[in-house]
């Protein structure tokens, strides 16, 4: 029975943390609503020209709309640089169409092979950064869709001279497959909750690389992209380096959407195993808090470790129900946001992309999977990213994985098993 009480206490601790995360999300999103008038109101705000860098690799869900949304910004002067590694990338055809559709926009398609580092996204950004015309640069991933006020809402933070980087809160939408539903539930609860919690209560910058606005001078001062070319978490490291240079890292409350519609479960598992390894290498012991902060997983452990009795099962069901309700509430807070309805009105988001209330019932299943994934980084230090395998070291520093040598048989064995299963 002691085991049950131990896990009961840990679960209550986790639920308390989850409650704080919801509170952080609520206050953060409320602030965005309250600050709306100030953003593009009567006060004159300088709007400097911005170079938007869009690194592309393959087809993301909703790619055309995502790229089009960045072309429709209500902003005086900006250029867009779509950066690809080769002409055979299927995204190339999509960006050609976007450029043809908006001939009056300042759009550059840059196709250049760059092998400077091990991080493929940074390799994609290095040539684009070289040709960027303006002092302000925005790195915007290809899998996000934004409303027309996005640029104005983040650039206003740059008016303060000590601000070095502005990132955004990300929410997952869409979901026509189980993998996508899991991904969106995780983005909207754990990821969004953690980012808001760290920003609000611990004042720790937690930069999500899907949207990063910086000045060239500040980026150059921390060594430019070359300084992060071999790290997996380039976003986090850039944020950390900015802070080390006494520059503020701001979390803009402007929500941007990551559309995930047709993800397979395997893709969900791959991404979160990779992200888990990354957080383990960066966070060290604090990584344990993620397991404690997973109340659903913790509440199910007594069923396995003690006994599947009425009390243990009822407890797990109760905690799962609370988690479902909590995730539903977060979903409600997200859809109340102004720019959500703006995207719907503009026809950029169709109603099918809204969260179906039934999907929230998958939240406990997703949390159980995440609980099991948590252990993977403790036994594996390699990541496979865009087809390449790397060894991940401290602060997510990547090094090439040896394909020969004494221990390399493990990777070959893993490959053989994976190929067989595929």
């Amino acid at each position: 029975m002691e085991i049950f009480y131990i896990f009961l206490c840990i679960t209550i601790l986790g639920l308390t943390g989850y409650g704080f995360q919801i509170w952080a999300i609520r206050t953060t999103l409320k602030e965005e609503g309250a600050g709306k008038g100030k953003e593009y109101g009567s006060e004159p705000v300088p709007f400097p020209a911005v170079s938007i860098l869009k690194p592309l690799k393959g087809l993301d869900d909703n790619l055309f709309d995502n790229l089009e949304s960045i072309c429709l910004q209500d902003y005086p002067e900006y250029e867009i640089i779509f950066s690809l590694q080769d002409y055979n990338d299927p995204a190339y055809k999509v960006v050609r169409k976007i450029k043809d559709k908006y001939p009056d926009k300042n759009i550059t398609i840059l196709v250049e092979q760059c092998d400077d580092g091990l991080n493929p996204k940074v390799n994609n950004l290095i040539p684009a950064y070289r040709i960027a015309q303006y002092e302000h640069i925005l790195i915007s991933d290809s899998n996000v869709i934004v409303d027309e006020h996005y640029l104005k809402s983040i650039v206003k933070h740059m008016a303060e001279p000590d601000v070095g980087l502005v990132s955004n809160i990300i929410t997952g939408i869409g979901g026509r497959s189980l993998g996508s539903v899991f991904e969106n539930l995780h983005l909207n609860s754990f990821i969004m909750g953690s980012v808001c919690f760290l920003d609000r209560f611990l004042k720790m910058p937690c930069v999500v690389g899907k949207s990063m606005l910086m000045k060239k001078a500040d980026l150059n001062a921390i060594g430019g992209f070359k300084a992060v070319k071999d790290v997996l978490a380039e976003d986090y490291i850039i944020g950390k380096k900015m802070q080390a240079k006494a520059k503020k890292v701001i979390l803009s409350k402007h929500l941007i959407r990551n559309i995930n519609e047709y993800w397979g479960v395997r893709r969900f598992l791959n991404r979160h195993t990779r992200w888990g390894k990354l957080r383990w290498k960066i966070g060290g012991v604090s990584y344990v808090s993620e397991l404690i902060g997973n109340p659903v997983f913790m509440s199910f452990l007594p069923i396995v470790l003690y006994e599947p009795s009425r009390i243990t099962m009822s407890f797990a069901m109760f905690v799962s129900s609370l988690k479902i309700l909590g995730d539903m509430w977060i979903g409600k807070l997200i859809t109340r946001q102004d720019n959500w309805s703006r995207l719907h009105e503009n026809g950029k988001l169709n109603s099918a992309l809204s969260m179906n209330p039934l999907w929230y019932f998958f939240a406990p299943v997703k949390d159980l999977i995440i609980g099991f994934i948590w252990f993977v980084p403790l036994i594996s230090n390699t990541v496979v990213w865009r087809g390449n395998r790397y060894i991940i070291g401290k602060d997510s520093l990547l090094s090439p994985c040896p394909e020969s040598g004494f221990w390399s048989w493990r990777y070959r064995l893993l490959d053989a098993v994976k190929t067989r299963l595929a």
Partner: protein
């Protein structure tokens, strides 16, 4: 080169994605030309009767609605994605024996053609409507869930003169016999589910209009195939 897929099903027959969403899937992925080709199933066999019973087929009653919906989507796709949509059907003669079964794409069809007609009558009517006639998955396929449709290949000496092109590749399968016979070819996805978008496709070196596309396929000049992967 135009990136094309001429074999796409929607919820009008046995596809799992509704027409509008299908158009968006291909548009978002940068396609230039697609043909919507839902099944028109024969009603003179037990398989065909089941398809009619569960409405996995276009019939004379809903054909006008089907065409009107495609026209509406054609307009939307042109404005939004610069993508051309061609209306079509897949005449599906399904029998217990694979040797008797055949599927035929009629691309740019104008009037309804029933699948229970004889092959000659279907081909002549399609020619009358200036539709493109494509023999689909004409040889043994690797998919265990689908039945082979071998009738046209087995009777190629009789019917090849009516057929404008043969599917040399369908979804994940490649039919090398088409290449050996030097028949005109195209490659398609036989799209039923979202994941089928990643499959064999046709590349055409011609203008983006229906007449040029049909001519390009019939003459089989400037036609290439590609395995579309992410």
């Amino acid at each position: 080169m135009l990136l094309c897929d001429f074999h796409i099903h929607t919820k009008y027959s046995d596809g799992s994605v509704e027409l509008r969403r299908t158009v968006d899937l291909f548009g978002q992925a940068g396609f230039d030309v697609i043909a919507i080709t839902d099944h028109v199933v024969n009603g003179d066999s037990s398989f065909g009767k089941l398809a009619h019973r569960f409405r996995f087929t276009i019939n004379e009653q809903n054909f006008a609605e089907y065409m009107a919906h495609i026209r509406e989507e054609t307009e939307r796709a042109r404005n939004k994605y610069g993508m051309l949509i061609i209306p079509g059907v897949e005449i599906s003669k399904n029998y217990i024996s694979s040797d008797k079964s055949a599927h035929i794409l009629l691309i740019d069809i104008k009037e309804f053609i029933p699948a229970c007609w004889s092959y000659e009558k279907i081909f002549l009517e399609a020619k009358e409507q200036n539709a493109l006639i494509v023999a689909c998955h004409p040889h043994h396929s690797s998919e265990t869930a689908t039945r082979d449709t071998l009738f046209l290949w087995n009777n190629r000496d009789k019917y090849a003169k009516y057929i404008d092109a043969w599917e040399i590749a369908n979804r994940d399968d490649v039919f090398n016999v088409i290449s050996l016979k030097k028949y005109p070819y195209i490659a398609n996805s036989d799209f039923h589910r979202a994941r089928h978008i990643y499959s064999w496709k046709t590349l055409l070196n011609c203008e983006k209009n229906i007449d040029s596309i049909k001519q390009c396929i019939r003459h089989n000049k400037g036609v290439a195939i590609t395995l579309f992967r992410n």
